[in-house]
């Protein structure tokens, strides 16, 4: 039996598809550091609680002030920065499609994989967390829709009004599709080009159908994602009229604290950001493989697929794809359930509390820092190992031995981040996100719950919820990965 089980794992190894793009050299976080991180999460939570208990009540404001009269912003606007960058962003989208279609088939030799998966989907997302939602200004699909709308008024305004009941569900489902492709599909430059082309067509049709304003508010998932992320930022970017932009400075995190989520679907969207990152870490872990290929097989799948591993293998492999997809899609619901259970406990401390749904929407922004640090700690090494290759790929986007800017041979060696540094950075980031989340939840409680004592008491369950999410994130980082052979 033991032989049969290892044979199944070995068989799976030989044909398993490539997972997400980019080389990751990370070792699992050692147990002692994981344990320290868990202890730290608990200690800092109570420190924050104590600080709030000790400090006098204060009204929170975003303290926003306009930076548009700042010299730098004026100069950039005089240079028509946003207009130029918008054209550039559309050109980059086109380049990703063209290089994927006709360029090198090797994912590492083609511009589009590194640019889209690393520079845009990771780097630009984190840029928006720090520097505000520049994506809204530079969104290539929105730019093209805008250009069409300039000459075609009907297209600009949309043919039908956006149905309110749809809310953010389209963005959520598109985001799920995106993550599914990232984690579970076999990605090649060509498949990325096809996906980008399909998504471009979808965006142009959708923007015409519902009007660009509503489509890019509710349906285009990058718009929704980057808007959520940038609500933490100390900068706010807005339209300045005449093609320019305005810049506002504000206290970081406070805009998110004051923004109640407007719909349940947006909460699920955020929870999916959290849960899909966790799933990505988990689905590479040895324990995860064993759960299906050994444990599930032993307890029930052998009765379905037969006890001969060679015969069972083909069917099991097919079912494994569904199994993974199902877990990915169900994962936000598990986080939602945990969130609601702890919120219910919070609610017990408050007389005349708002409904559970209202509370869930009010406290949702406090999960943002945890979601961001999950994301950064999982993927930041990819910037060093793969992101910087964009410098050489820019000179040779198709992989045809071009050297457009003379950088084609730059930074060719392997950059391997030091494992000890990665461990400490990962744990440090997760604890920092935890602190911010607990802090934000306190500010929200003081704003939403009128009685100060009740507001602070209600935060004890919330703080335990954050500890749960944080420890889960650390735990996933500490899981030993599956050796590639055994997949």
């Amino acid at each position: 039996m033991r032989f049969a089980l290892s044979l199944l794992l070995l068989l799976y190894a030989s044909g398993s598809p490539a997972h997400s793009f980019g080389q990751v050299y990370n070792l699992p976080v050692p147990f002692w550091l994981y344990a320290w991180g868990a202890a730290a999460a608990l200690v800092v939570s109570f420190v924050i609680l104590a600080i709030f208990l000790a400090s006098p009540a204060r009204a929170t404001t975003t303290g926003e002030h306009d930076l548009s009269h700042c010299r730098l912003v004026k100069v950039l606007n005089a240079m028509h920065l946003t207009r130029v960058l918008r054209v550039f962003s559309v050109a980059l989208l086109g380049l990703c499609i063209v290089t994927g279609w006709w360029g090198d088939r090797n994912p590492y030799g083609n511009f589009n994989m590194t640019f889209f998966w690393i520079v845009f989907a990771l780097g630009f997302a984190w840029f928006c967390v720090l520097f505000g939602n520049f994506y809204a200004q530079l969104n290539p699909w929105r730019a093209v829709a805008g250009w069409i709308g300039m000459t075609w008024t009907r297209y600009r305004e949309g043919f039908v009004g956006y149905p309110q009941w749809l809310a953010y569900w389209p963005a959520l489902f598109l985001y799920m599709g995106f993550i599914w492709i990232e984690l579970l599909a076999n990605n090649t430059p060509r498949s990325l080009a096809e996906a980008l082309l399909a998504y471009s067509l979808l965006n142009l049709l959708g923007a015409g159908l519902f009007g660009a304003r509503d489509w890019f508010r509710y349906c285009e998932f990058f718009s929704v994602l980057f808007r959520l992320l940038s609500s933490l930022s100390p900068l706010r970017v807005s339209d300045g009229g005449g093609g320019g932009f305005r810049l506002h400075a504000r206290r970081p995190l406070h805009a998110a604290v004051e923004s109640r989520f407007e719909h349940f679907s947006l909460l699920l969207f955020l929870l999916f950001l959290l849960s899909s990152t966790a799933f990505d870490g988990l689905h590479e872990a040895a324990a995860w493989y064993r759960l299906y290929w050994v444990d599930a097989y032993r307890c029930c799948l052998q009765h379905v697929f037969g006890s001969h591993p060679l015969k069972a293998y083909a069917n099991m492999r097919e079912t494994y794809a569904y199994w993974q997809t199902a877990w990915l899609l169900v994962s936000p619901l598990l986080y939602l359930l945990t969130y609601l259970v702890f919120l219910l406990a919070s609610r017990c401390f408050v007389t005349n509390a708002p409904g559970l749904r209202q509370l869930a929407l009010h406290f949702a922004p406090s999960l943002l820092p945890i979601a961001v640090v999950y994301h950064v700690s999982h993927y930041f090494t990819l910037i060093e190992t793969q992101g910087i290759k964009i410098i050489s790929l820019a000179s040779d986007p198709f992989g045809w031995d071009w050297n457009l800017f003379g950088t084609a041979n730059w930074l060719q060696r392997n950059f391997v981040p030091d494992a000890a540094f990665v461990w400490h950075a990962q744990v440090g980031l997760i604890i920092a996100g935890h602190v911010l989340s607990v802090w934000m939840a306190h500010l929200i409680a003081l704003r939403v719950i009128p009685d100060r004592r009740q507001a602070l008491l209600s935060q004890v369950p919330m703080l335990l919820l954050m500890v749960c999410f944080t420890v889960a994130g650390l735990w996933i980082l500490s899981l030993p990965n599956m050796a590639p052979v055994e997949r």
């Binding site: 147990f31 002692w32 200690v43 420190v47 104590a50 400090s55 590639p484």
Partner: protein, 161 residues
């Protein structure tokens, strides 16, 4: 301002507690590193200069140890797959990694991160040898099998000292 004092005090106390806890929990740098226990069929190959007190963990390790050159693990490749030898080799930073390979057909082997390429002739043993001066988890794979595909053979894990 008086209201701020207890808060600051608690924050300082918390920082001290965490600092002390970190120092207590952190393993001594001189101590040998204990990597996580092998999972499933994973084999922890004995490093080139092994701690003799460490008993072999699994049957497969014993088999490696019994082969012609007892201390250097041998990875046997047949049909573009690893059929024998360790799937995971765990060493510490600064160790000298030595790993022998033998394949039933001419293949090209690539070790990620260190960017080592080993060209194997059919049925001829070759030694991969290098100083583990980068920490992390590095896959070694076969190149150019199935028309450009890559077949993973195993990983070398280099733990920090």
């Amino acid at each position: 301002m008086g209201g701020h004092m207890p808060g600051t005090l608690v924050a300082v106390l918390g920082a001290i507690v965490l600092g002390v806890l970190f120092l207590v929990m952190r393993p001594d740098p001189g101590e040998p590193y204990h990597p996580p226990p092998p999972v499933g069929e994973t084999v922890t190959a004995t490093p080139p200069v092994p701690d003799s007190a460490d008993p072999p963990a699994t049957g497969e390790t014993t088999r490696v140890a019994k082969s012609a050159e007892p201390l250097i693990p041998l990875v046997r490749i047949a049909g573009h797959q690893r059929v024998d030898g360790p799937a995971v080799l765990r060493v510490r930073e600064g160790d000298r990694v030595r790993l022998r390979f033998i394949a039933d057909a001419p293949v090209e082997l690539h070790l990620h991160g260190y960017d080592r390429v080993l060209r194997l002739a059919a049925d001829t043993e070759q030694l991969l040898e290098f100083d583990a001066n980068r920490t992390g988890r590095f896959e070694f794979e076969l190149h150019g099998h199935h028309g450009g595909g890559h077949a993973s053979l195993g990983v070398i894990e280099v733990y920090p000292r």
